[in-house]
């Protein structure tokens, strides 16, 4: 009996080592899907890099603009788009002027999508014309141009030289916001929301040359590499992955509530946190069980 029990256990661990990976995909699919439909409550708590970025934008001088550089493409949209949305909500809620720029063609559609969504939210509750979000006054979507180096350096001299027309085809020189935002001197911080090494390029060109403050919104994959830039003070703050987006969404939500802006918005980062947590627990269990199986079978073989 004891021998057959031992053979049964041996069979279990060895079968586990050879399990078809599609079963793991199925488990992950379920673990992610169920909490999205039936979420359990999670309140994101801002980590210091997120709090740093939020506090700076919240308290920067009123005449300084926020520039968001949409440096990502649809493949990293899930992690980064919620950051752009949260940054726009924060800026419009606190009456900051916003400039949007894209360093890739693929970021253009995403930038426009984010602007349209947040503008619609604010416009739907505006009772006066001044309360709505107006293109050219409250924000300019400069769009994209090439080459990158010339764009980054040229914006420090005069933005209208680099972008004679905005994304919608309007002459930038004629837009009211241009009177207040001529170059980096009029910018409080540029936040590069990127799925690539673009934040480092902004540091190398815009910060080293013009002293512009840079914030970083990045995919979780790149976060470990970027902590050194946070530690050196080259980044004023950092949002790392979907968790970073959820934390910024939470801070923005609290700020908007304090300002009496209590309308409901879809915070995709926060919405994803239940699934994220469940998936992490599942992966930790996979790693633990996989390692136990590995050592159990190795000991038997030896």
């Amino acid at each position: 009996m004891a021998a057959s029990g031992s053979a049964g256990r041996k069979g279990f661990w060895e079968r586990l080592q050879r399990i078809d990976r599609r079963w793991i995909y199925l488990v992950i699919w379920l673990v992610v899907m169920v909490p999205l439909i039936k979420p359990f409550p999670i309140k994101p708590v801002a980590s210091p890099p997120v709090q740093q970025m939020f506090s700076y934008i919240d308290s920067m001088p009123e005449d300084k603009a926020l520039i968001i550089s949409v440096d990502y493409s649809p493949d990293t949209q899930a992690e980064l788009h919620p950051m752009t949305l949260a940054l726009l909500r924060h800026a419009f809620a606190t009456d900051r002027r916003v400039g949007l720029v894209a360093t890739t063609v693929y970021g253009l559609g995403l930038g426009e999508d984010a602007l349209r969504e947040v503008k619609r939210e604010f416009d739907s509750v505006a009772t006066r014309h001044e309360d709505s979000v107006i293109s050219g006054e409250d924000f300019i979507f400069w769009g994209w141009t090439t080459p990158l180096l010339t764009m980054m350096l040229g914006m420090g001299e005069r933005i209208t030289n680099v972008f004679p027309v905005d994304y919608y085809g309007a002459r930038t020189e004629s837009l009211p916001m241009t009177r207040h935002v001529k170059n980096y001197n009029d910018v409080g911080i540029l936040v590069s929301v990127a799925g690539s090494s673009m934040p480092i390029s902004w540091v190398a060109y815009a910060q080293t040359q013009f002293g512009l403050r840079i914030g970083c919104g990045t995919t979780a994959v790149s976060a470990a590499d970027y902590y050194t830039y946070l530690n050196s003070g080259q980044f004023t703050g950092m949002l790392a992955g979907m968790r970073g987006a959820a934390e910024y969404e939470q801070l923005t939500r609290e700020k908007m509530d304090r300002l009496g802006m209590t309308w409901r918005v879809r915070n995709r980062g926060t919405e994803a946190m239940s699934s994220q947590t469940a998936a992490h627990i599942a992966i930790i269990l996979f790693i633990v069980v996989g390692n136990i199986g590995y050592f159990a079978t190795r000991r038997r073989k030896s």
Binding site: I37, G143, A224
Partner: protein
């Protein structure tokens, strides 16, 4: 359930499911989606570059008799296409050389300043660093980590004597770095999957409220 009525949401959902079908095994639906993505991306890029860069920055001004020197730049840029004509393909070196020279000149000093000098400065520990004991402790850990890790990658001397324990500590820091990167990578991949499921369950099927 509140199904989407926008046909483009349906197109995106079907494409997403076609790509996910690869998880079961390679199949024609996955390949069709992959080819469509490559084609549409390139088409979008070329169209946008034409309408938003070449037309306003080159064709419009030159067409109106302004900035005629841009014709020279356009000719040099067009030399990239000589790559397709074997007899004169060597001409492609001209725009590549100009672009490399410009890029290197513009980025060299700034990259050194941003990527090396500022980073080294951040490891310097002064008395002010210890104004806050936590900041001081982390600054010391970073200093030890940087020195030990660089020592680990110092291949010109045999690892014995004092170099051996320092390199060993360096390996520990490298391993911790790899662990952090792996953890973040898992988080990133799961996030991307969550994003697609948010789209399928929320925007397409209307199951997320």
């Amino acid at each position: 359930m509140n199904l989407a009525t926008d046909p483009w949401v349906w197109v995106a959902a079907i494409m997403t499911l076609a790509v996910f079908s690869f998880l079961y095994k390679e199949n024609p639906f996955y390949r069709a989606a992959e080819h469509l993505f490559v084609g549409v991306s390139n088409g979008y890029f070329i169209t946008f570059t034409w309408h938003r860069v070449l037309v306003p920055s080159l064709i419009d001004p030159v067409g109106h008799g302004q900035k005629l020197w841009l014709i020279l730049a356009a000719i040099v840029g067009a030399l990239y296409f000589t790559r397709f004509i074997p007899k004169i393909s060597w001409l492609v070196r001209i725009p590549i050389a100009i672009f490399l020279g410009y890029g290197s000149g513009m980025s060299l000093l700034r990259s050194v300043e941003a990527g090396i000098i500022a980073q080294v400065k951040a490891t310097i520990v002064t008395r002010a660093t210890f104004a806050n004991w936590q900041a001081g402790l982390w600054a010391l850990i970073i200093l030890v980590g940087v020195v030990c890790t660089i020592t680990y990658f110092f291949f010109s001397a045999e690892r014995k004597g004092v170099l051996k324990p320092i390199s060993y500590v360096g390996i520990i820091f490298v391993m911790v770095g790899f662990g952090a990167s792996f953890g973040y990578t898992v988080m990133a991949r799961i996030s991307l999957f969550i994003g697609r499921l948010q789209f399928l369950l929320g925007d397409w099927l209307g199951l997320i409220r």
